[in-house]
């Protein structure tokens, strides 16, 4: 089994809390899990989860780059790292900033999860675009913080904004609602050996090769100043 799960969502919605329960349930099934956190300049989750579960974890800082750029050009190396350790499910958490990109690889290559929180306002599902609409599963967290009426309105609006996405409500604090997500992960197709994954959606117009529409995650296909694994940059071009 070699499965990639890419988890996105705005800051502080509970992505790591959702994945923590997923890790616990996967380990209980004797599945080998590794975890990667993509963030800008500060994140302690990889250290915390490594201590808590004793699983291999890594952090990739994008620094001056947008984290989606860095995740595109560095993911392949991290996948190789995860497979070299015998990983069966590789969980990748990415910091969401401008909410314009969707970091998911193609559906036949990965499972895309977006995490949203109840308290983020009823227009959020319509605002965030591809991060929601291109995901496979949307997890709505913090269901205990609002009234049931608000929950039902947020659920209905999320479904309306993304009719093809499976929407699940979770209380990530108590671990409620995680089981259907674990089932989806285990039903995700395996990533083929040595495959460079491909972005699911078209990135926005911009100046870097990712922003200009290059969806391949083969780092050699990216031009200009490119983020490299472990921090730092290289220049590719004339």
């Amino acid at each position: 089994m070699k499965k990639i799960v890419i988890c996105a969502g705005p800051t502080a919605v509970g992505k790591t809390s959702v994945l923590r329960h997923v890790i616990r349930k996967l380990l209980a099934k004797n599945i080998r899990v590794a975890y990667l956190k993509n963030d800008v300049q500060y994140a302690t989750d990889a250290v915390v989860l490594a201590e808590e579960f004793g699983i291999p974890t890594a952090t990739e800082y994008s620094g001056e780059f947008c984290p989606d750029h860095a995740s595109v050009t560095t993911l392949y190396d991290h996948i190789r790292w995860a497979w070299s350790l015998g990983t069966e499910v590789f969980l990748v958490e990415t910091a969401g900033l401008c909410l314009r990109c969707a970091p998911y690889a193609l559906p036949e290559e990965s499972l895309g999860i977006v995490v949203l929180e109840e308290t983020s306002g009823i227009d959020l599902p319509f605002k965030i675009g591809p991060m929601l609409t291109l995901a496979d599963v949307a997890m709505i967290t913090k269901i205990d913080m609002v009234s049931p009426a608000e929950r039902e309105i947020f659920l209905a609006r999320t479904r309306k904004a993304a009719p093809n996405v499976r929407v699940l409500e979770v209380n990530a604090q108590a671990g409620i609602g995680i089981d259907p997500l674990v089932t989806r992960i285990l039903n995700t197709p395996d990533l083929a050996e040595n495959d460079f994954p491909t972005l699911r959606g078209h990135p926005p117009l911009g100046t870097c090769t990712v922003c200009s529409g290059e969806r391949s995650m083969n780092p050699n296909r990216h031009r200009g100043v490119v983020a490299i694994t472990g921090g730092g940059t290289r220049f590719s071009g004339q």
Partner: protein, 265 residues
């Protein structure tokens, strides 16, 4: 489908420290009024949350909910318009920032099953809510500006009128200063299964049975005795009314004389 709910059953799971529940199974019938009592932290809210989430060993308590003695269909949890359960939790704040009328309309559109016009449903909801509050809620006020008591009253009215579900779960209806006796009276006009999480003796003794919670488990089921019923409709009611009258006088800025409680003491 919704009107055909006859019973709900909770199959016991385990408590906070892993012990099995003493009450292994409990069934409620259409029309039953149930109170859930116990010290704070004993798991009262967790029990009604398990019911609202259609627990199927999917929550930390490992409880299961059955409706009409069978596992509830997944649509109940997926589509609010099919959900036979309405819950009022302890929230006294609405995050969703919109005028009250817009908020109720949005929810009515989600819960609607055809028939009554949405505008009419919203009007009935606000009427219901305003029978429970001191100062009336206006449809054009922002939800975020409502007081704790007004929010509570609005959400109780929303669950009762807009959700119009056959199973209603209420978490500490006595809080936030709404007119509790009036709320009980209005709610009990419609025949449903009511579960009240409560610390209030009047509500507990008006129920058909009460579940006693302890350390996260259902420890005991007590059926209300005839003596308890007599008490709740007799002297307890007079004490309650006297306290209510006293509360209202203080609210209205009146002074209190030593004669006030003469009638009940």
């Amino acid at each position: 489908m919704m009107d055909s709910i006859k019973t709900i059953t909770v199959l016991g799971g385990r408590g906070k420290t892993g012990e099995s529940e003493q009450v292994g199974t409990v069934t409620f019938r259409m029309g039953d009024v149930i109170s859930i009592v116990g010290p704070t932290g004993s798991g009262k809210t967790t029990l009604i949350n398990d019911i609202a989430l259609f627990a199927n060993k999917t929550t930390p308590s490992q409880r299961r909910l059955l409706i009409n003695a069978a596992s509830p269909p997944p649509e109940y949890g997926d589509d609010p318009s099919l959900n036979p359960i309405a819950m009022i939790n302890q929230n006294t704040k609405i995050f969703l920032n919109a005028p009250v009328g817009v908020f109720l309309t949005l929810h009515a559109e989600v819960r609607h099953r055809g028939g009554e016009e949405i505008a009419h449903l919203v009007a009935r909801t606000i009427d219901f809510a305003n029978q429970l509050t001191g100062e009336p809620i206006l449809l054009d006020r922002q939800t975020t500006e409502l007081s704790g008591g007004q929010t509570r009253a609005l959400l109780i009215a929303d669950a009762s009128v807009i959700c119009n579900a056959p199973i209603v779960l209420l978490d500490e209806i006595e809080n936030a200063g709404i007119d509790r006796a009036k709320a009980m009276e209005l709610l009990r006009k419609s025949r449903k299964i009511y579960l009240f999480v409560t610390h209030d003796p009047t509500i507990a003794l008006q129920s058909d049975l009460r579940i006693v919670m302890q350390n996260g488990t259902m420890a005991k089921v007590i059926h209300t005795s005839d003596a308890e019923r007599k008490l709740s409709s007799g002297s307890l009611r007079r004490v309650d009314e006297a306290l209510s009258a006293l509360r209202n006088k203080i609210r209205d800025g009146e002074t209190i004389s030593s004669e006030e409680l003469k009638g009940v003491l």
